[in-house]
């Protein structure tokens, strides 16, 4: 499936704490669940999520099979300067997806 769903305020005041939400389509197959043929489906999860703000890492997460399918993560950051937030999800089977959002700080 296509694009992740990112929520970042388009504008913020310098020093303001802004909330960031990220939702991505992914089955997060646990590796413990039998498939239609009764055999256990191999694990297929996103293992890591990283957010950078103008190329500086500000938040990351290590994810495990207990995370829900289509994983959702929300966190906060201080709006320090205008620029780009980059979100990257990586995981099993070479999974890698990135999305960016811009923020204007005044």
């Amino acid at each position: 499936m296509a694009r992740p769903l990112i929520s970042v305020p388009a504008t913020a005041k310098r020093g303001e704490i802004v909330e960031i939400k990220a939702l991505i389509a992914h089955p997060m197959e646990t590796g413990y669940r039998p498939g239609p043929d009764g055999r256990v489906l191999p694990r297929d999860i996103i293992r890591r999520f990283v957010c950078t703000y103008n190329d500086v890492e500000i938040f990351s997460a290590d994810l495990f099979p207990a995370m829900s399918a289509n994983p959702f993560i929300a966190f906060t950051t201080v709006a320090v300067e205008s620029g780009t937030l980059t979100f990257t999800w990586t995981g099993d089977n070479g999974f890698s997806q990135s999305e960016t959002a811009t923020i204007t700080v005044s």
């Binding site: 704490i17 938040f59 994810l63 207990a66 995370m67 994983p71 993560i73 966190f75 906060t76």
Partner: protein
């Protein structure tokens, strides 16, 4: 759980309270205990020999969820989130899924606020534990019990 139909108002408050008893006992990593649960082992792997103190961490998760596939949770830690004093890590553990780890969040002073939200799977009714590691090396925790009701018409 009964198969009889009851009015939906009887959400099992009693069960919630019962399950809440003895809530924090699992957090005490008891050295010398023969067979620690998987969750205790996972927590120990995070904190090592350090003491885990109850407090400062607030784990917010509904006491009863209609489906265990996506229980929303928020962890907040009391911290000024300054360069001098901040939360480094927030980890979430569960007691009865096949694996005790849920997620480990890495943050720092630039977060402004020590708060993360996510959604987790609960294979069955169980305890969920959140542990925060602060910049001074101390560990704090909170836990909550969640009751998962059975879905009615499911695909197996």
């Amino acid at each position: 759980m009964e198969i009889g139909m009851e009015p939906m108002t009887s959400v099992t408050r009693r069960q919630v309270l019962l399950a809440g008893a003895g809530l924090l006992s699992v957090l005490m990593v008891r050295p010398g205990r023969a067979a620690p649960t998987d969750m205790e082992a996972a927590i120990q792997a995070m904190v090592g020999k350090a003491e885990i103190r109850p407090g400062r961490v607030h784990l917010e998760i509904p006491p009863l969820v209609e489906n265990g596939n996506a229980a929303p949770l928020t962890v907040t830690v009391d911290s000024p989130m300054t360069e001098a004093e901040f939360v480094k890590t927030i980890a979430v553990f569960n007691e009865k899924n096949p694996q005790p780890n849920v997620a480990v969040f890495h943050l720092g002073p630039r977060a402004g606020r020590a708060q993360v939200s996510t959604r987790m799977r609960l294979a069955t009714s169980q305890k969920v534990v959140a542990i925060a590691e602060l910049s001074d090396g101390t560990f704090w925790s909170d836990s909550a019990d969640v009751i998962v009701t059975l879905a009615a018409c499911v695909e197996g």
